[in-house]
């Protein structure tokens, strides 16, 4: 796809290449083996490597060091904000989470569970939890440690859900940090859509672990429609089974600070992951999305598309897209794209795609990043059809978001999100008419 947004220097940081040492942190050693007890019913997804936790001596292989993971918060030390993984985050505003005490505070859950879905919970020490990918930073480790087990959404194997699983997660305004962990376990050959709909005021550190069974098709939608002042940090992990498809759509609109780390690993060959996201940062909002796709088995694909818009003084977004193709991951196909639309002065978007390729036998790998103002050619095209500049501008921005939002595939939710975006853009006079279908 050609870049239509001529990159400008406005608030733009694009680092096309980062040193491997910087990228992969200080972790050493090779990946740990499969956990002793695989999660039941998911096939290979339950046997996921839980990440690098071994502290054996480094073997000089020429490969980048492993990303450090641990369930022990203290193994990470207390971040100062100078670390690679924290350097974009306003630490002062994150302190309420990092310094938060253990608590019994929780979000108010409103659930819609179609037939074939079980919502349950497991205690600390449950074998299911031991097999999950480990936290990659201190905040995620704190959440794992303090969540006191996990809520578990289980979709039986071969289940074909008639409607999405919806978990409305609302903050009550408490100053206590809510520590949470949600495990979504989808059995082999099942097809499920899960919507996490965050709203209200909260300080929330929540992990989400998704186990996608062999040949399952799972779509996870996470909406951050928080009230002003909310702080949300979370690590999302997906373990994609053999020939399975995982689609994640992240929509971040509200809150004071939202920092989501999404990791994908493949438990067997033939897996496919699509990671889509939209974010809209207004005055002073900090929205940070970090992605890490680890291709370690053959013939898997990943497709990343994140689009963000910024308006107002102090609006800030960060997008980090790391993709690693390990030597064993032949036949990999990966592409990642981040595009940011800077609507006003005083906003800043950082965009850092990183691609590590350790085998030449791949189908394709690429990334692109562009941050800029309006596309003048798009505006000219619309105006040349009689559409006023202001309406054209809104159409372009609306379309910019709709491009990703329409991938959710749930009309009611899409309409709600587009309405929320419209509200922030101002009314669209020419679009107040009812939508027209021509068919």
């Amino acid at each position: 796809m050609p870049d239509q947004n001529a990159p400008t220097t406005t608030g733009l940081t694009t680092e096309s290449a980062t040193l491997a040492g910087e990228l992969f942190g200080d972790g050493v050693g090779t990946q740990a083996g499969p956990p002793a007890v695989p999660a039941a019913g998911t096939g290979t997804a339950g046997q996921a490597a839980p990440g690098a936790h071994s502290h054996g001596g480094a073997t000089p292989t020429g490969s980048p060091a492993e990303r450090f993971t641990s369930i022990d918060p203290d193994a990470f030390g207390v971040p100062t904000g100078r670390e690679e993984t924290w350097r974009f985050t306003p630490m002062k505003r994150l302190r309420p989470l990092l310094d938060g005490a253990p608590s019994d505070a929780h979000l108010t859950w409103t659930t819609d569970l179609p037939e074939g879905v079980e919502l349950t919970s497991v205690e600390v020490g449950d074998p299911l939890l031991k097999g999950l990918p480990e936290p990659v930073d201190r905040l995620a480790a704190l959440a794992r440690q303090r969540s006191g087990g996990a809520a578990v959404v289980r979709v039986a194997k071969e289940a074909q859900l008639g409607r999405p699983v919806t978990l409305g997660l609302a903050g009550s305004g408490s100053e206590d940090v809510v520590w949470g962990h949600l495990v979504i376990e989808v059995g082999a050959f099942a097809k499920a859509t899960i919507v996490l709909d965050h709203s209200g005021l909260a300080r929330y550190a929540g992990g989400v672990s998704v186990l996608v069974g062999d040949s399952a098709q799972v779509k996870l939608v996470s909406v951050q429609d928080w009230a002003p002042g909310a702080v949300h940090g979370g690590q999302y992990d997906a373990v994609v089974g053999r020939d399975a498809t995982f689609t994640q759509v992240v929509v971040t609109l509200g809150g004071d600070l939202v920092r989501l780390v999404s990791n994908v690993q493949y438990a067997g060959p033939g897996g496919s992951a699509e990671l889509f996201g939209v974010y809209f940062s207004d005055e002073t909002q900090h929205q940070e999305h970090r992605l890490w796709v680890d291709h370690a088995v053959p013939n898997c694909s990943s497709d990343v598309l994140y689009k963000g818009a910024l308006q107002g003084e102090g609006a800030r977004t960060v997008w980090i897209g790391d993709v690693r193709i390990r030597p064993a991951a032949t036949g990999t196909e990966t592409y990642e794209l981040n595009r940011n639309l800077v609507l006003t002065d005083g906003a800043r978007a950082d965009s850092v795609p990183n691609l590590e390729i350790e085998t030449g036998e791949i189908v394709g790998a690429g990334h692109a990043s562009a941050t800029g103002r309006f596309d003048d050619e798009q505006l000219f095209y619309l105006c040349s059809r009689g559409i006023e500049a202001e309406t054209a501008r809104r159409l372009v921005v609306r379309g910019f978001f709709a491009d990703v939002v329409q991938r959710i595939g749930l009309d009611a939710l899409q309409d709600r999100l587009m309405a929320a975006i419209d509200e922030r853009l101002g009314a669209l006079p020419a679009l107040d008419e009812q939508p027209v279908e021509v068919s």
């Binding site: 000219f380 619309l382 105006c383 040349s384 059809r385 309406t391 159409l395």
Partner: protein, 256 residues
């Protein structure tokens, strides 16, 4: 009844010392019911003329005038020009992600007509025009120009011309990149508009191929940023046989 009058038009691109004059005094009058072909070699300024009339911000008018029915086109914004009755079918239509064709067409029609077209007749109009251009109905739900083939983009341009019913239509190399079937379909769309009403057409092309389908009343040879020769349809035949070589020799320096 519309009259587009271009008088001694001078246009440059770039700013300051980098400014470069592309159009060097263009005179042309297009009236309703007339079809003018502008033919010329690459770099002669044909597309610059089209984009300048439409108001593309890249081009600076340094002299001359353009009026539509006596109104000063150059004083109008891009959207005002369209609402006044000018239409430009672009050579390279732009992708607009996330905006569906049906939404775009209706928004444009609403802007041009000053009110939203009646839903029932509008849907019928769009449907029948798409059928006539041999476009799949699913096309309406795709995003504007996104992933369109070259032929689909040009059909989409002509579809807009059919629905927006301009007084003056400028077709900028609408024939480029089209196979014979697509060229026929697109040409028939243009001819329907010519037969139905009072449209004036300015057909910009490098090749004479499209003129076998759309018969011009006047042919202008464009070289070095101005019109080098004018005549009737017979001039196109001459160009078909002899090419532009004779003009290039005489014009001295040509615009890039």
């Amino acid at each position: 009844m519309s009259v587009l009058e271009i008088r001694d038009l001078h246009v440059s691109v770039g700013e300051g010392d980098d400014a470069k004059e592309i159009l060097r005094g263009v005179d042309l009058t297009v009236r309703s019911g007339e079809t003018h072909a502008i033919m010329g070699p690459n770099g002669s300024g044909k597309s610059t003329l089209a984009y300048s009339i439409a108001g593309h911000p890249k081009y600076t008018i340094t002299g001359g005038s353009v009026t539509l029915d006596g109104e000063d086109v150059l004083a109008m914004s891009v959207d005002e020009r369209a609402r006044a009755g000018l239409f430009l079918a672009m050579q390279y239509p732009v992708e607009v992600p996330g905006v569906s064709v049906s939404n775009f067409l209706r928004t444009a029609a609403t802007a041009i007509k000053g009110e939203a077209p009646k839903l029932r007749t509008w849907v019928k109009d769009v449907k029948s025009e798409m059928e006539a251009l041999e476009m799949d109905p699913a096309f309406a739900e795709r995003n504007v120009n996104e992933g369109f083939s070259g032929g689909e983009k040009k059909r989409h341009e002509i579809l807009q011309m059919r629905l927006l019913k301009p007084g003056i239509a400028i077709l900028d190399e609408t024939d480029s990149g089209l196979d014979v079937d697509a060229l026929r379909i697109v040409s028939e769309g243009v001819n329907r508009t010519r037969e139905e009403g009072d449209v004036g057409v300015l057909l910009i092309t490098h090749y004479t191929r499209i003129l076998r389908y759309i018969k011009p009343d006047f042919v202008h040879v464009f070289v070095g940023g101005r019109i080098a020769e004018e005549g009737g349809p017979e001039l196109a035949e001459k160009l078909e046989n002899e090419g532009y070589a004779a003009y290039a020799k005489g014009s001295g320096e040509t615009a890039a």
